[in-house]
Symmetry: C2
Subunit: 95 residues, 2 copies
C-alpha cells in the first residue's frame, strides 16, 4: 500500500470499465495469454489490447512474452490499495 494520489487515480480508473474488471476476474483464476483473455470479448483485438495496456500501466497486471505468446498475470497488491482506501473510511459504514 502507501500509494500516491497519482497511482491511485490509475488504479481506480482501471476499474471503471466492465471489460477490464472482467479481465481481472479471469486472471484471478490464474495467468492467461492475450488470446485467451480476449476470446470472450466481442471486440477487435487491438481494442482489447488497449485495455490490457491500461491494466498494465496502472499496475494491475504484469505480462511477459514467450515466443509469440504474451502471458498476463494479476498483481494482487492493487487489491490491497483499494482495500486500504475503503478501510480508511470504515467509520462511515461501520458505525
Amino acid at each position: 500500500m502507501a500509494e500516491q494520489s497519482e497511482t491511485l487515480d490509475a488504479v481506480f480508473q482501471a476499474l471503471a470499465d466492465p471489460t477490464r474488471r472482467a479481465i481481472l476476474s479471469r486472471l484471478g483464476q490464474g495467468p492467461a495469454s492475450v488470446g485467451e483473455l480476449a476470446a470472450p470479448h466481442d471486440m477487435a483485438l487491438t481494442s482489447f489490447m488497449k485495455h490490457l495496456k491500461i491494466l498494465e500501466r496502472s499496475g494491475w497486471i504484469v505480462s511477459a512474452k514467450t515466443g509469440r505468446v504474451r502471458t498476463c498475470a494479476i498483481v494482487t497488491d492493487r487489491f490491497a490499495d483499494v482495500g486500504a482506501w475503503v478501510y480508511g473510511h470504515r467509520s462511515l459504514w461501520e458505525g
Copy 2:
C-alpha cells in the same frame, strides 16, 4: 450492494480523481455546503461543481438546496459496493 456493471463503472470512475476523493474524505466528517467543499481546492467554482455533479450522478453524494446554499452529504452505501467488489476477489490477497 448488488450493483450492476454500469453503476459500478460510475462508482469507480468517480474515485479516479484526487479532487473527488478529497471531497469524499471531507464529507466523511459530515455534510458541507458547496462553498465549504470548494474552498481548499485551487480551482474555478464551475470546474469544482463538475466534480460534485459526477459524485452525485454516481451515487456517492446527495445534495439539497436551502435558500441559496446547497448542502452535500456522503452516501455510505457506495463504500459497500467497492468493498463487495474487493471482497469478491479476497481469495487472491488472502491465501
